[in-house]
Amino acid sequence: MHQPLSRRKRLFYLIVFILLFVILIPVVAFYSLGYRFTKNWQIERTGGIYVYSTDQGASIYLDGTLNRQTNFFVRGVFISDLTPRTYQIEVTRASSTSWKKTVTVLSEQVTEAYPFLLPLDPGLATVTPTVVDSSGATVTNSQYTGLVALFKLPNNSPVKTLATSTAATTSPEALAIPRQNIKIWKQNNTIFAEWMGQSQDSPFYFCKNVGMASTTCESTITVYQAPYIGTVDFYPGRNDVVLFSTKDGIYATELDNRPPQNIDPLILGSNIDFREVSGDQLFIKNSAGIYQVNL
């Protein structure tokens, strides 16, 4: 006759599981904080790097060694168990610019990196003054008309649509372009960015000594200086990458000013200006005409 588990046996199991809990809980807790054994059986407080690439198919290198590749499902890569020190990250992708950064890993902290990769040969679609409508008649292209008007306006006009309007001239900062709690503007050929959210939520590039007790954050940072800066706007879909025009082309750079600050040309050529519509469509204008840029 089978009897239920005896009280003694159950008590034994209970004690075993309580002991397991007592033993495992500090192990799991310290593991989750990043404590690891080194090869010499020393305990080390590790840190990590988180790299988020908006592009799939990007290869992420850590100190020259391929670590991971992004794909359709995974764009963010967490590299854990890193000894606190300085690391070189490089992100590459076929037919794109590469991105490099030197980052410092601190114990129990995760250092973030948000690379941007520009297409080496962005496709340009001509926006023509006229189009052929469904009846076969040649008619004025309203998009072209709207863009011509838009290019006549300063880039910081408050309403960024194809409808034309005039913006009153005021201080450069007041005409700054906002996106998700960050606004950017240019003044004296210098690009500035300001964090408009709560100071405790400041992105790391507004702060110094990130992850340390001495962390200090500023609300305004200098992003880039050049002999001449024309139009300034955010890169489509990003609030940490800035597009700006110079006398020899359109460039992108990042708010992340950890060395090296990546500055890459998007389109080279003289007398090029650009406008961004609805935050995700980019148009350029040169002496030959107006084009939509396929990023």
Binding site: H2, Q3, P4, L5, R10, F21, L24, S32, L33, E108
Partner: protein, 515 residues
Amino acid sequence: MNQTETPYYFHVGRASDLKGSDRALYRFLEMIPGLLAWITLLGTVVISYFTPTFAAFFIIAFDLYWLLKTMYLSIHLRENWRRTRYNMKLDWRKMVEPLKYDHIYHLVLLPFYDESLDLLDQSISSILNADYDPKKILMVLATEERAGEKAVRTAATLKEKYADHFGGFLITKHPKNIEGEMPGKGSNITYAAKEARKSLLDAKNIPYEDVIVSALDSDTSMYRSYFLCLTWHFLTAPDRYHVSYQPVPLYNNNIWQAPAFSRVVASSGTFWQMIQQERPEKLATFSSHSIPFKTLHEIGYWQKNMVSEDSRIFWNAFMFYDGKYRVVPLSYPVSMDANLAVSFWQTLKNIYKQQRRWAWGSENLPYILFNFIKNPRIKFTKKVRVMFVQLEGYWSLSTNPLLIFLLGWLPLILGGHRFNETVLSYNLPYITRDLMVLAMTGLILSAIIAISFLPPMPPEYRRRHKLFMVAQWIFVPFTIVVFGALPGLDAQTRLMIGKYMGFWVTPKHQGEKKA
């Protein structure tokens, strides 16, 4: 104590049954399960916002606790599985024969409301086909006046078919609208048991000491040796009149027809009961159960003013005998219906409602605590142990799955930018996931056990149906939240705010047999 000496609060159903400070105290006790649940859930939100690091450690510790608890309970489940299978194969007649048992009668109460003739016929037929002298079985069909003439006709048809086979056959009709009663199983079977006492036991001069009452759900099908197994346990149990007898509830009657969600929820209920069978001191009566008639008569039958009469009868006896009352686990099954309605969505709704009704068993907690406060004859250590087991049980039901499967992400969402830059925040989802995956490997055992209890697959079903019986266990993270925690929280919240539930009769539908 005898029945006439029971205190005024002995059959209290809810706070409004009491007066003055007793009412206020009972009302507060009713609020405890809901308060504990909501404090836990809202507390997790608050600490995730203000101290995300502490919240993250709490969640990791909780995940580890849950993993170890799952493993600990799995040992009990596996042990009871072995024992139940052993008992199902055991020759119980051989076990009983050395004992004198000819004098033992089984009074079977089969209450019903508007269930079909076929369903009741199946239940009575299984009782008749059980390996026990049918002349020692007294059958009571307990109908409800509010169910109308159809129920009366159903009962009459069944009486005509079966009356001659049993030692007694009684149809009772529980009157409607009795002051102080709640319509439901408790009031019906109490009326039926009292009628049976007069019409069957007293009329035939059967001593109450020789009668075991089995209060069944209307869809209960007996396995062949149930009465022999019950009789053996009754005759060999020390202090047998201070004991209830609990079988393992399987939901096999329509298991092949029921949808996967219903099967998983039903099997999970079975597994919980099997685990409790290995921890008899934590076991209370549930659903179909048995109790000596002498005891039942002494304690005043099932309560008529509340929903969870199946478990409350145990607590009534526990309080009546000053804590000297227990449940003997039979580790022998009875089979009932899994939830199945005419449509898939209706089945889901019915599962939810049934789970909420079972979770409404938290109405026992204020009863237990109130009696503990009032009854100094129960040992203090016993009070503390019971109180902890009950509080932990109801708290776990309504909070644990939510903490495990939903709230583990809260520190990441609410913890703010600084917390989200720590290794801890990045590791939290991975560690939670890994611990849960480890815990979920226990589902393999669940699948094996569930399959071992399956009745033969109907010939019209194909092999893939058997595969579904294994694959269905991936739904556990969903069912444990939607059909575990949420109805539990729903019931406890209703009790907390005084929105009392009534009895809900689970619709019985056995599905169409495939051509």
